[in-house]
């Protein structure tokens, strides 16, 4: 087999793989989209589930997810950005930074169920928060912390060193330089990280299984020590438990579609912010 033929075969296979993967993506979105769109309506988004979750809506799950997103980011965003500022602006290049980077990467690869275990042991049990939005938010905050740190670090590193030098040469202190020059310049990319985190937190199930998620609540949560419903857990429940799986199936499709749409929209918004630089 001469060189040209084997190249053509190889390239054809790779291109085919590319198409295949895109095809998989579209079939997932397509199936769920097609089946889900039939269910989505104003009622679906604003009503409580009814009749054993075979009709009605997913409103409490949407609200619950919203609370968890806000809660987790209140913890993770400031801490994550501060941590990134420390490693990029203060820590220099020695072994300290290497260890911090390794630890952050380790935290990033921990499976979400381990976060769930830890969250349950520490927040729900030891600190006695019980199954609560507080416990769930803290657990999810831990999960998403490395993502925020990583994107913030990249954002800060992308700011040209010449800006910092120019500022310091005028007599500004390091903190003034960070506050007035570096952070504003890195802002767009830092926000990108925040937005991607929203998508991430919205979709995570394992961390909330034992820290906040409830199968069904007749009322919306009223405080941070209350349990809450959440979209990903709701999908899980609709698909695997519940009184009548067949009848709940349309609701499940609708919930899955809502989840996919959240991720899609967040990715789009994030890319918009990223381009602005």
């Amino acid at each position: 087999m001469n060189k040209k033929v084997s190249q053509n075969i190889a390239f054809f296979i790779f291109k085919f793989f590319g198409v295949l993967v895109i095809g998989i993506l579209f079939s997932i979105i397509g199936f769920i989209g097609y089946n889900g769109i039939q269910v989505i309506s104003w009622e679906f988004l604003t009503e409580f589930p009814k009749e054993g979750m075979t009709s009605g809506g997913i409103f409490p799950a949407i609200v619950g997810t919203f609370y968890l997103v806000v809660g987790s980011l209140i913890f993770a965003f400031p801490l994550g950005v501060m941590s990134a500022i420390y490693t990029t602006e203060y820590a220099g290049k020695g072994w300290i930074v290497r260890i911090i980077r390794i630890m952050t990467n380790n935290l990033a690869s921990i499976p979400s169920i381990v976060f769930g275990l830890f969250g349950m042991a520490l927040f729900v049990n030891k600190l006695n928060f019980g199954d609560s939005i507080l416990a769930g938010s803290l657990t999810l905050g831990l999960l998403v912390l490395p993502l925020i740190i990583r994107t913030s670090e990249e954002a800060l590193l992308a700011v040209p060193q010449s800006y910092r030098e120019g500022s310091l040469a005028l007599g500004a202190t390091k903190l003034q330089t960070i506050r007035r020059i570096v952070l504003p310049a890195a802002f767009g990319n830092i926000i990108t990280g925040l937005i991607l985190s929203i998508g991430r937190v919205s979709g995570e199930t394992a961390p909330i299984l034992f820290t906040v998620a409830a199968y069904f609540l007749p009322k919306l949560p009223s405080g941070i020590f209350d349990q809450a419903m959440a979209l990903p857990y709701h999908l899980y429940v609709l698909a695997t438990s519940g009184t009548d799986l067949e009848a709940s199936r349309p609701m499940a499709y609708g919930t899955a579609l809502v989840l996919i749409l959240i991720v899609l929209i967040m990715n789009l918004i994030a890319s918009f912010f990223r381009k602005k630089l």
Binding site: S162, Y163, E165, G166, S167, A169, L170, G171, T173, R180
Partner: protein
């Protein structure tokens, strides 16, 4: 007045400056020349302690500005840098408006109120020969200016905080000839008010703008004297060889 006494400087194990001593009189223009890597930029950065930003460096010797050792532990570095301004090789305006760029130094050093700042900005831009070109667009982004204009903006920015010394690290090497000559003209006008030290790899430029010149090579100060004298009648043979282009 700037006085350097027996300055040695190390990047890790590499000695970049070897026993440099020199005196720079106030309100003069001094040029540092020499081949690439000879240490002239490093030496320039001694004067405003910008080398402190680099890890694993060591400085020995004394550097006195107006009689005070600027490497003394009690010195406030931010005040030092306010008093010793710097213009960099590649223009580096901040991602802000033209006005805010010049006002930046005033703001971070808490110098004056709104009116004072507006006044200072206008003065500095005039001193930097940029005012007429930008007075109608002070709120536009600094990046809308050309390269030469940006560099003059950086000069105005440095002037705004009223330093007594201005350090220029190859300020025109990234610019076209016309912008370069504008900068040189600027230096000529500024020297009545400021002490200027300029690093340049362009000998003709050094000859044009400076009163005194220091010739560096491999970390040593080979010769330091009146510019006219150095170029017409250098004392050291190495200097002679460099100036006539035999190397470097």
């Amino acid at each position: 007045m700037i006085e350097a006494k027996n300055i040695d400087f190390y990047y890790g194990n590499f000695q970049a400056l070897k026993n440099i001593s020199m005196k720079i009189e106030p309100k003069t223009v001094t040029a540092f020349i020499g081949p690439s890597g000879c240490g002239k930029s490093t030496f320039l950065r001694i004067f405003n302690r910008m080398n402190d930003l680099i890890k694993d460096t060591q400085m020995e010797g004394e550097c006195l500005i107006n009689g005070q050792n600027i490497y003394d532990k009690s010195i406030n570095i931010d005040n030092l840098r306010k008093d010793v301004g710097m213009v960099f090789q590649k223009p580096n305006p901040f991602p802000k408006s033209i006005f805010e760029n010049v006002a930046y130094g005033l703001r971070v050093n808490n110098m004056g109120d709104k009116k004072f700042i507006e006044q200072r900005v206008e003065e500095s831009l005039k001193d930097a020969a940029l005012w007429d070109e930008v007075k109608d667009k002070l709120n536009k982004s600094a990046y809308e200016l050309s390269g030469g204009q940006q560099q003059r903006l950086c000069i105005a920015r440095a002037l705004a905080v009223k330093p007594s010394i201005i350090l220029m690290d190859e300020p025109a090497s990234a610019l076209d000839p016309i912008s370069t000559s504008k900068i040189e003209e600027l230096i000529h006008n500024l020297k009545n008010q400021y002490t200027i030290v300029i690093v340049t790899h362009n000998m003709q430029q050094a000859a044009r703008v400076s009163d005194n010149t220091g010739f560096f090579m491999l970390g040593e100060l080979i010769e330091y004297s009146n510019t006219k004298k150095m170029f017409l009648n250098p004392e050291k043979e190495t200097t002679q060889n460099y100036i006539t282009g035999r190397f470097g």
